[in-house]
């Protein structure tokens, strides 16, 4: 039960230090500072206290104390998230799971891994490799991001068209409720009786509980993987050839598109041999048995040719495959070199709307006088426009944010959504009222209440409260025509 008597910061620290090693209870400004933001550093807030418990029972005690005093709790993994989902609450505790870094078990027979939440995504595949297995979802931050954060955001990656998102690859989790009670969702089996709470937890952004253990599925490493790179004179042709591949019955392991800005930035950075004069570039990876890859590569090359590719290159060796991917994988830092700052967006659209969305984005880019580079998980319609700006110019970030918001609204207007894999956090909370009606948001709030009646788990993120969403609706940024007519074709 919650009590109304507020604890002082010192009293709270003292309570925590009663069961957590004193150096793992952080309260001084200097040491708190690195926790003020996650990967989206434009949104900052200093927390009251950061705790780094080392056992599940310590986490339970932290939750019990915070629950009984109605203190906000923000769980945090590696802090690589891109929606300010792990931004602290000024009155609250950051619950860092950074000490939970153990791979508890790799079971080659059942092809599963049991993990603590702080295990890095890439570390799972590295540990499974000796058994010829790997973990499917591979977000770009996989070298640093943790599996706990992946569950919270339902992370994807370049391979998710074929191998699924986090939600498709998690068998079970141990979760602590806001009261600190431990429950297990899912099992070793592929489904469980009753309401599928496991589905609800994936992508819930730390609003419903705290994950303390995760069991994931592992996949056999494909015998072979090859990538075909194709350059195109225009985006429409590139978009059409993506549709052509899907229509031919091939599900590529990865299918990525970049526009001319991204191509030339990536090429300057990675020297991968990308055709810098191309207006669009596709990378299509196929994997499987050697025979299957050979058969599919030939089909893909033929298709790219028939859709008017101006250049085609197919990896002949593993080194060449890695090189072709290097450009794509370094696209974000590469864009960072041509601009003081960049802001990465994350909308999803039906693929058929790509050419329309890109031309609208170009129009918005001219209106806001801000450049935009596009990197696109073309296979599953997930856009990552990178808006280039300079945070040192007064007002430019605000303009960037508004431009970003317009892009997300455009995605919704053509039948897509405001976030494919980065999450809502604080960043996109305003656009939730574009994608959902008030009644739908109320239903989300009711679900939140079912887990967390006091609303202390990661408050202010993910889903706007009704009061907030009314405010957001009333704040209309200056109206510009986003050509709703185009949307009607969706």
């Amino acid at each position: 039960m919650s009590t109304t008597n507020k604890l002082s910061k010192d009293e709270l620290c003292q309570l925590f230090r009663g069961f957590i090693a004193p150096q793992n209870v952080i309260a001084d400004e200097e040491t708190l500072k690195p926790y003020e933001c996650d990967g989206l550093s434009m949104y900052c807030e200093m927390p009251l206290i950061v705790v780094l418990p080392e056992t599940v029972s310590q986490v339970q005690d932290v939750l019990r104390i915070c629950h009984s005093h109605a203190i906000p709790v923000v769980a945090r993994g590696a802090g690589t998230g891109l929606c300010a989902g792990a931004m602290p609450n000024a009155e609250g505790v950051v619950l860092s799971l950074a000490k939970f870094i153990n791979i508890l078990e790799i079971n080659p027979q059942t092809r599963t891994a049991r993990l603590q939440p702080g295990v890095r995504n890439l570390a799972i595949s590295e540990a499974a490799a000796e058994y010829g297995l790997y973990y499917g979802p591979d977000p770009s931050s996989q070298i640093a991001c943790t599996i706990g954060g992946n569950v919270a955001e339902n992370s994807g990656g370049v391979h998710c068209l074929k191998y699924g998102l986090t939600v498709h690859n998690v068998l079970s989790v141990d979760m602590l409720t806001v009261e600190g009670e431990k429950v297990t969702l899912g099992s070793d089996g592929l489904d469980s009786c009753g309401l599928d709470l496991l589905a609800l937890i994936n992508g819930s952004e730390g609003l419903l509980g705290v994950i303390t253990e995760i069991q994931v599925k592992l996949l056999p490493i494909p015998e072979k993987a090859r990538v075909v790179m194709a350059g195109f004179d225009n985006v429409q042709q590139a978009g059409d050839s993506v549709g052509g591949i899907i229509a031919s019955g091939i599900i590529p392991a990865g299918l990525e598109m970049m526009d001319s800005y991204a191509i030339s930035a990536a090429e300057d950075f990675a020297k991968a041999g990308y055709p810098k004069e191309a207006k669009a570039l596709l990378l299509c990876e196929v994997d499987g048995t050697s025979e299957e890859v050979q058969e599919h590569i030939e089909q893909v090359e033929k298709l790219f040719n028939s859709f008017g590719a101006t250049s085609i290159r197919t990896s002949q060796t593993e080194a060449e495959r890695a090189l072709l991917w290097k450009g794509r994988k370094s696209a974000f830092p590469a864009v960072g070199r041509i601009s003081p700052d960049y802001y990465c967006m994350d909308g999803t659209i039906p693929r058929g709307q790509l050419a329309h969305v890109l031309s609208e984005m170009q129009r918005l880019s001219e209106y806001y006088q801000l450049r935009v580079a596009n990197v696109f998980h073309a296979g599953d319609g997930n856009l990552h426009p990178l808006i280039l700006f300079d945070a040192n110019i007064p007002g430019e970030f605000e303009k960037t944010e508004e431009f970003g918001g317009k892009i997300l609204e455009l995605c919704v207007a053509v039948g897509g959504c405001i976030t494919g894999e980065h999450g809502v956090g604080i960043e996109k909370i305003r656009q939730m009222s574009v994608q959902f009606t008030e009644l739908e948001l109320l239903q989300f709030n009711a679900i939140k209440d079912a887990f967390d009646p006091l609303g202390t788990l990661n408050p202010g993120k993910g889903v706007p409260t009704l009061r907030r969403c009314q405010e957001y609706r009333s704040i209309e940024p200056k109206e510009i025509n986003t050509n709703k007519e185009g949307a009607a074709h969706g």
Binding site: P108, Q109, T110, R111, G132, N154, G156, G164, V167, T177, S187, D188, G189, L190, D191, S192, C193, G194, L195, D196, L197, A199, L200, G203, S204, P220, I221, P222, I246, A247, G249, I251, T289, E291, E292, E295, H296, T348, P350, R351, G352, G379, G415, C417, I418, T419, G420, E421, G423, V424, F436, T437, E440, Q443, F444, I447, K448, A450, F451, G462
Partner: protein, 361 residues
């Protein structure tokens, strides 16, 4: 082929007003599942028809009452399929019921379940509000995943009116190989095969024989068949086997009281793929590469639950037996509390399929 969502909404509002329990029915093909249905019939079968299908987007949207046969016929014209191979139950099954009961066939461990393929839903909640969640795109992490939450909820959270699904191309080729062996060996062997990078798409053991299906590019399937050097099942026999298994039409599933197993309770285990359940395995169908097992017989439910727990999973009384007692695996108290609260968040008056999933919900 009609949109009757407004009528459905009015029926829900009237039921709420009268505090009248509703029994949501599509094709009625799965009325044998769950606990005994109570309440006034709410017929969703009239809310039918494919709303949108873009083969190139790999997405299909249909009203909940649309029969699976209609959806599969439309997909087949474009050489696509529902990769989760749901049972059609003599053509009566609808897409809404398939999602509500989380029904998937033999390909499930490799291709995913209906829960995995659902992208978005529209549903009428207990306040009579017609709401939309998820979307028609492959990736969408805005808001809680209410769409997947419907899988297996058996209509307890609302009247699903529309579903968007990911669909997939049909594999270019499919072949089936068999090995004759006992259950214990088969469980080990299925797991070994699944760890190899080969185009497996189904693995099932029954009555001394392990059936393994390979699907994908012709060259890959043929090379694997050759490499594994075992008997291959003739194409028509193979097709018939997987169809009868997936449709739950093998003699094992027969509910006909004239047969030996005479309507005996049918138990479904969802367990660790490599676990052995020595007392049952030899008499079971071991599907999903070991993860799903069917057993028929009069048994004590708590005993079956303890077997399932030691095999890392759960059991439910799929059909037959006492349908007024609990038929799902027992739920710990803490999870009961959360599930009841979620139920109340959608259906505060408890009008949708009360007691169908559990006595307490």
């Amino acid at each position: 082929m009609d949109d009757i969502s407004t009528e459905l909404q009015q029926q829900v509002l009237a039921a709420r007003n009268d505090r009248q329990a509703l029994n949501i029915i599509g094709g009625g093909s799965k009325s044998f599942m769950g606990r005994k249905a109570i309440g006034e019939r709410l017929d969703v079968s009239g809310h039918s028809g494919i709303v949108n299908y873009q083969p190139v987007e790999l997405v299909l949207t249909a009203r909940a009452g649309t029969p699976l046969t209609e959806i599969e016929a439309a997909l087949a014209e474009n050489n696509q399929m529902l990769a989760f191979e749901p049972p059609r139950f003599s053509g009566m099954a609808t897409i809404g019921g398939t999602l509500a009961c989380n029904q998937s066939g033999p390909g499930r461990p490799w291709a995913g379940s209906v829960r995995d393929h659902v992208l978005g839903v529209r549903l009428i909640n207990g306040l009579g509000e017609h709401l939309k969640f998820g979307g028609q795109v492959m990736k969408n992490v805005a808001g809680y995943d209410v769409s997947r939450l419907q899988a297996g909820a058996m209509g307890s959270l609302g009247v699903i009116t529309e579903i968007s699904l990911k669909v997939l191309p049909k594999p270019a080729a499919s072949r089936t190989v068999v090995w004759d062996m006992g259950a214990r060996d088969a469980i080990g062997f299925m797991n070994q095969l699944a760890a190899r990078p080969k185009p497996l798409s189904a693995a099932c053991w029954l009555q001394g024989r392990l059936y393994v299906r390979l699907s994908g590019a012709l060259s890959a399937v043929e090379a694997t068949v050759k490499e594994w050097k075992t008997a291959e099942l003739a194409q028509n026999k193979a097709d018939e086997f997987w169809l009868q298994l997936g449709q739950q039409e093998l003699a094992f599933f027969d509910k006909d009281s004239s047969k030996d197993n005479a309507g005996m309770p049918l138990w479904r285990f969802s367990v660790n793929s490599a676990a052995n359940i020595p007392s049952l395995d030899e008499h079971s169908i071991i599907d999903w590469g070991g993860s799903q097992r069917w057993f028929r017989g009069e048994q004590d439910k708590l005993h079956m639950e303890s077997l399932a727990v030691s095999a890392g999973g759960q059991v439910s009384l799929y059909s037959g037996g006492d349908r007024s007692a609990e038929v799902m695996h027992s739920t710990p108290e803490a999870l009961q509390v959360i599930q009841k609260r979620i139920k109340a968040s959608f259906d505060p008056d408890g009008i949708f399929n009360p007691g169908r999933l559990y006595n307490w919900m």
